[in-house]
Symmetry: C2
Subunit: 600 residues, 2 copies
Amino acid sequence: MFHDITVEARRHLVAAARGARPLDVLIRDIRMVNVFTCEIRRADIGVFGNRIALVADPGAFEIDARAVVDGAGRIAAPGLIDPHLHIESSMVDPAHYAAAVLRHGTTTVIVDPHEIANVMGKDGVRLMIEGSEGLPLRVLFAIPSCVPAVLGHETAGARFAPEDVAEMLAWPRVIAVAEVMDYVGVGRGDPRMLGIIDAGIRAGKVIQGHAPALVGRDLVAYKAAGIENDHELRNARDAVEKLRLGLTPFVKLGSHANHLPNVMPELAKIPRFDVALCTDDVEPSDLLHVGHLNRVVREVAKYGIDPARALRWASLIPAQHYNLRDLGAIAPGYVADIVLFDGEDSLEATDVMAGGRWVVRDGAPCEPVTDPLAGRALVNTVRINTLSEDDFAIPSPIGDGPVTANIIALQPNRTTRMEATTVPARNGRIDSDTLPADVVFIAVVPRHGQAHPPSVALLSGIGLQRGAFAHTVAHDSHNILVTGKNSADMLAAVRRLAEIGGGFTLVDGGRIVAEVALPLAGLMSLKPVADVSAEVEIFNAAAASLGIRTLATPPIVAGTGLALPVVPQIRITDLHPLFDVGTQEPVPMFATAMADGTAS
Amino acid sequence: MFHDITVEARRHLVAAARGARPLDVLIRDIRMVNVFTCEIRRADIGVFGNRIALVADPGAFEIDARAVVDGAGRIAAPGLIDPHLHIESSMVDPAHYAAAVLRHGTTTVIVDPHEIANVMGKDGVRLMIEGSEGLPLRVLFAIPSCVPAVLGHETAGARFAPEDVAEMLAWPRVIAVAEVMDYVGVGRGDPRMLGIIDAGIRAGKVIQGHAPALVGRDLVAYKAAGIENDHELRNARDAVEKLRLGLTPFVKLGSHANHLPNVMPELAKIPRFDVALCTDDVEPSDLLHVGHLNRVVREVAKYGIDPARALRWASLIPAQHYNLRDLGAIAPGYVADIVLFDGEDSLEATDVMAGGRWVVRDGAPCEPVTDPLAGRALVNTVRINTLSEDDFAIPSPIGDGPVTANIIALQPNRTTRMEATTVPARNGRIDSDTLPADVVFIAVVPRHGQAHPPSVALLSGIGLQRGAFAHTVAHDSHNILVTGKNSADMLAAVRRLAEIGGGFTLVDGGRIVAEVALPLAGLMSLKPVADVSAEVEIFNAAAASLGIRTLATPPIVAGTGLALPVVPQIRITDLHPLFDVGTQEPVPMFATAMADGTAS
């Protein structure tokens, strides 16, 4: 079991269970979700210390307790367990994240600090562990496996070899190797990837997967390598195939992705199976207003899955998957993580107990946030070279006139494709003054102290009509990604980012029109979710007014995936203005620039 | 994962999965049991080294393999995993046990060497680990928690304190603390029991339960103590209550117990649940002729459980319960433990692969048994004092005439109760010549070097009409238990046991009429199961001819539980002729012998 208690404490617990000592808390006559049988039955639940001491039919035992809570028709479920997520996506630090998710009944999270690791390396992972020490939320860790995501084609702030991962696997609260994204490397038998998987297996940790669109024999090989789950289920065939191969599906509903419509109808046809539910990434405003894992459970139930079963997928199944033997159920001896919901359909948490302590009562937190990182001097991780407007210029193969360029075409579903597009050249450069309405400059500016200048390309589909939009949340290497209609605004937006230690900036006509400061690694704020959410809302409105458009996600995240060289098809990195994800090769912007003349 | 492979071997496995290397074995177009979804679907299964490399729809991939096996309409299931059993019950050593159970498709067993531990202590546990080294059967261990079963009321050959258990938990292939039988001690907060449980939890091991008939608040307290499963399900209410409390039920069908009729109909009504299946104890003849875990699966399916689900309960569920992450399924990367059954109803194993090697083909073993214990000098563990016939006499409170004695009345269901019975006295002793037909002497003779004389009582219900029946298989302390109509035959039977190093002896009129020598701790033979089974059959016939009768079990085990002071209601130990299991107190044989005069 992960959370030990002393033999003395266990002796008292057993005595309390038998009635030889009073309980600390009795929750009387509640409708309890039994995740072993998927039943909802009325029960009395007794808590002693940090554990559940008893579960019984209502009134079956005479119970002496220091405090009694009346069930009043509510549902009691195990505290929810999210098996894979990134705190960084919520733009707040662990303590403020904890406060926000506890409010929705999530009491345990398995965190992949992948983003901060790409910026700060091991120091970043350590910061997240230290920053979550002693929180009422149980924060467990998966060690990032792909830092950087792909070797040799981009520059992150760190590089993890198998030895580094092995070292971190021994750190406190570490239970997994995080999403193995480099499935191409795994299939090829790349020593880095197999070495990292091997380190995890030897340390007895779970190996998380990440294999969007991988099918057939490549998927089989990926599973054979030791991968145990996957939270990238793009369609029903994908999900069923992974389930049958023994890759536990983590069915996802977060701010950026919703598996449910694609996979639940087909999965629901299989007579017997279990999955886990996860959020992966949740925007601050969703965390504030929409929910966390309770939202996923609620939505899953709309696909004919009964609520008790969906709750099992958000508690016992993830606990079992990670061999957390005393988490994920309301049963004697288990850690007393209990959430009271107003009902099984709405799943609004009214009261939340974590480790035997009430942390939420009547929907309100019981105590203010104590942040282990408060007052800590933060390193400014935005280290850029001296830049000029010229750094954002694209030389053209002809001096003046129309020229055909390969540009990155962002699609409504957030994938990209390469499109040959006619753009104007003037004085040997692409002319920003006469660019087509939907085309903007896009640049990746090194921010990890690299000596080389920005890589610059052209982008369509993001909607920006004027000014520039820059940020340090450019997965996964988190260099600065800036899009803009002109070099001056791009430069201003980037310079402001360096001043505030990272985050998001929006510039129009040389003026900062909105910003969200994320001084913790350029990824997170140390403010509460409500504050950050308000800043983001203002930013979104400003970004929309400059034309930024997205179909399903808020404007602020419109470009955050454009530098991610593992998502099809064409991306920009700090080393390559145009990079083909499929071939893992750079692509020239202009046909005439090709030395060997093979381009069309 | 429990069974590591090197990173090099894994690289080759991944290459084989992708088709970059030939497979070692292809099992083509078999009906494969998918234990993740409880489906049976046609599949190709590829093996490389000791692992499963691929699973695919028939013909989906072009596959190059060194050897091809045609499915021919058969079923492929994961090698079966028995989560709790005692090899000693089969009266053979690990190597011969392995050969016998592999033949039925069991490829992994979790062994509780409880019997030998009670005789030889840590040396006995070590002997079982050494005796199972390198076998094709994967033999994993649970460390006995209750040696002796109850402190202070019997003498075993060893005594395990928490420190002893903690030491053994670090030995190779140890994954659990074995059945915690002293539930009374657990409930009372006994330091020995809680210390042993604590040692197990700290070492990350599973804690096995054993709580027959425990219900209500005592059961809740037992679960709160950290117990994780139970293989003693006496009735449906028991089983359902344990399931709901999170004690994984191990539904049992062995030679000595059959849970199925009592528990399966009620369990089957619960919409969603999983249990594991186990055998616990299997007689040599059943092992030879009836089956092992495949028999349990077959019988469970008769209760409306579809065979794929029953097979899941005998593979994936026990593997998950013990966190054996790469056992229990046919899936890429899992250990290649595969059993081919002729059909899902008969479940006769035709071919068995263990760790990628065929160990059974066409129903026959592929290689002779290699026994790590062969040729080893065995210690004679039957150490008795000099005895005379007088040691088996019972002094009576009156010189001559009828006297009322409390005797042990063995019931057809193997429980006992105390019955006041009139027996004859002569010359100050109970008179063997005129005993009622159904009454015999029963004695426990110290065999662990204790200085005290035998304890002697009277027994009804075993059927013996003449002669004596002695053995060293007297759970759990394994002193010699002898029943007889007269002292001379009892003495002869006991003396013969000491000569042969333990086992079973039957004496009639001073002559040895049958015996089974079990020189390994007085519990096991080093011969094959077939040989031991034949000896047992002969013994059973001889025992029956002397009148020994049992309802459901063979005569040889008729008395093996009579010295077990944890099974209700009245038992005999080496220290107490009559011992009340409920009160854990000795009981006087004669009312008049009571000093305080309270007896009726």
